[in-house]
Symmetry: C2
Subunit: 404 residues, 2 copies
């Protein structure tokens, strides 16, 4: 019994094959590479019921993850996050079975921990000493902390507008932090230059093949937590899109394993902000790729990604599942954030709130039917965005009483 | 098979018995009340192996929790937090088997979620409409969010120096927030007055009997996650002390159930800050209760509690387990926080860092032996304290390169 059934890397664009036993970045054709597993062997050796007694982390799926030996696993206990019903929001929106997959309940308070855990573990296994990445904040926090645990040096470049707490995460981990007066795309150029000059491992979104393997486990978990019966719709806040690509990859793998037997996969929905909606524009225009979105802006900072390198994979995932792409207003994001907290107790991040705003619209225009099972994916803790809300409050002096 | 085997409430001081089927606060003698279960029936009906397939939350122990019907359970998926080895810190301190129980990986990013989940669920079951509490911040955030989910109105009073993000948690949940120019003890007086005037449910630390039932599940989890073999030492950052009292209660219950068979329970260590160490002072003086600590001050804000109502129970727990109480300096707290993040990747809160600082000292003076198994309990996410670290960083302009 092997710990991992990783086989090789494959280009989804030109079908080139690469070895997974040495460091790889993009395919020579410019596309991201995807990890392939010996799924037939997994099917023979593991049954989905075997998972039940395993640890409550994403490493319960280790046969389907790219790390060959457990000694290389760098873990802070990430994954197997709560999937919880939100009946009051469901009633308000007119959706009978509405769930939140709450990725705030994870190390670093953001789903970026999944990609970092698997990506850093594999980097360690491949002998990487130094890595570099551009980030909108949360990924930088996660990768710097996991790199610290792995003993890998890291260089992190983020927009100076990124959530302030993520700077502290990078700083306290001992990583090298650089702010940039620009967007993640500008940070990406800085990293590309640094990587070229110094030969560091480039862990930009989808430029290394393993972050997505961490993210795909969200798909496994949704299936397992629903007792292998899939929801009808999954809504995902889409910046770089690794999560939605990963969830789709996971569902296809589960299908091949025979662990899910429904013909119809969940309809995957890419949710963006009106101020940065390149995927939505491409979707509406029926295109296979997106164009760079000029002057992008949104308070849902994690999805301020003007051009995603995996855009064609995101569009493919929503097309092939009968999903869609939709953008939502800043006001609706803020309203949803407030609504979910005050009715359901989840203090979600703006990116996660965007999926609720989208679910509301999609129900209103009947794209979502009332009796469908719907999962909104919240990608992080609201507490990472203290600047989102101004709180005014009375200040009492000692001995003063509350008068109602 | 009952969902809960709750029997009644009992005073640990004067042994008075109270019904658990109606709202109770303190015993008439002034002591907190503790929940008692029909452990003989639990022993007959449930085996510890039955837990393995259960959900990854503290509700896996529902027979030993006070909520009678699952419909009253208010959950955001709290509990079953990671118990992870920290070998690099262990090597640095000279402790072979050092673990972190990471309570940051929980809704609201603080272990206060445990008490809130169980406390609010039971309040709902008892028909409570409005509750009030003083807090150092994190408990207020947790109780207001869980109350929001339960549809219970809440009044939260916290020092204006409490972590700012906790105000946002209270605000966004729709709770009533009051700041006070003073300490939690001053906030407590405000709440006591409000409760007396309005008849609200007082959920101050240990003034209602069920918060501790949520907190005790940390003890169950440490035992279960270690395959029912207990560690030698558990270090706990002690403010109100509910967690350490709860862990001790849990261990005694497990012993009675026969789920743990070691004669020797872990030595429980109450860790405080030098600027607020009433329990340590009482411990060193061999007293049964602590005295009010004047002009208390510490950056580990959650343990700035000058006089805990359950102090005698904390002292009892450490005395009966052969534990101790120890205070640590602000500098050592900050150092440990940095050390744990940069070596192990856990961005822990100052309160949690205090337990590492204490473990270091206790190993140095050989109170902890090198081959002992030690658990440091981190009570929350470092990200809730953005003000803890000032981060200086170069700001690049677009097109500018990193020069190494």
């Amino acid at each position: 019994m092997k710990y991992s059934y990783l086989s090789h890397l494959e280009c989804p664009k030109c079908s080139s094959i690469y070895s997974a036993e040495e460091v790889q970045q993009l395919c020579q054709c410019g596309s991201p590479l995807l990890a392939k597993y010996r799924l037939d062997e997994v099917k023979t050796n593991i049954k989905r019921e075997d998972l039940q007694r395993r640890e409550k982390s994403l490493w319960r799926y280790h046969e389907l993850l790219p790390v060959h030996t457990i000694e290389n696993v760098i873990t802070l206990g990430e994954g197997y996050t709560p999937l919880v019903t939100v009946p009051k929001i469901g009633a308000k929106y007119g959706i009978d079975d509405l769930y939140i997959k709450d990725e705030g309940i994870i190390p670093t308070g953001s789903f970026k921990a999944r990609g970092a855990a698997v990506g850093v573990s594999k980097a360690k296994e491949l002998g990487v000493k130094t890595l570099a990445m551009p980030t909108n904040g949360n990924a930088g926090g996660a990768w710097s902390l996991y790199s610290a645990k792995a003993g890998i040096e890291s260089f992190i470049v983020m927009p100076k507008e990124a959530p302030a707490i993520t700077r502290v995460e990078v700083h306290i981990s001992g990583s090298h932090l650089y702010l940039i007066n620009g967007l993640i795309s500008d940070a990406g150029k800085v990293v590309a230059h640094l990587v070229k000059e110094k030969g560091f491992y480039d862990v930009s979104t989808l430029k290394e093949p393993y972050r997505i393997e961490g993210k795909k486990t969200m798909g496994y978990e949704i299936a397992e937590q629903m007792d292998w019966k899939l929801p009808d719709v999954i809504l995902y806040p889409t910046g770089g899109g690794v999560g939605i690509i990963g969830i789709y990859k996971a569902l296809l793998e589960l299908k091949e394993l025979g662990w899910i037997n429904e013909e119809k996969l969940p309809r995957l929905v890419a949710v963006q902000a009106e101020g940065c909606a390149p995927i939505v524009k491409a979707w509406e225009e029926g295109k296979m790729e997106s164009e760079f979105w000029e002057n992008s802006e949104t308070n849902a900072f994690g999805i301020n990604v003007p051009k995603a390198i995996g855009d064609f994979l995101v569009l493919q995932a929503i097309r092939e599942t009968g999903g869609c792409a939709i953008s939502v207003s800043e006001e609706s994001i803020k309203n949803s954030q407030q609504e979910v907290a005050s009715l359901e107790g989840n203090f979600i991040c703006p990116e996660g709130a965007a999926t609720f705003a989208a679910a509301k619209i999609l129900r209103e225009n009947n794209w979502i039917k009332p009796n469908e099972t719907v999962v909104c994916l919240n990608t992080g803790q609201g507490i990472k965005y203290p600047e989102s809300f101004e709180v005014e409050s009375a200040v009492l002096e000692k001995g003063e009483a509350i008068i109602l």
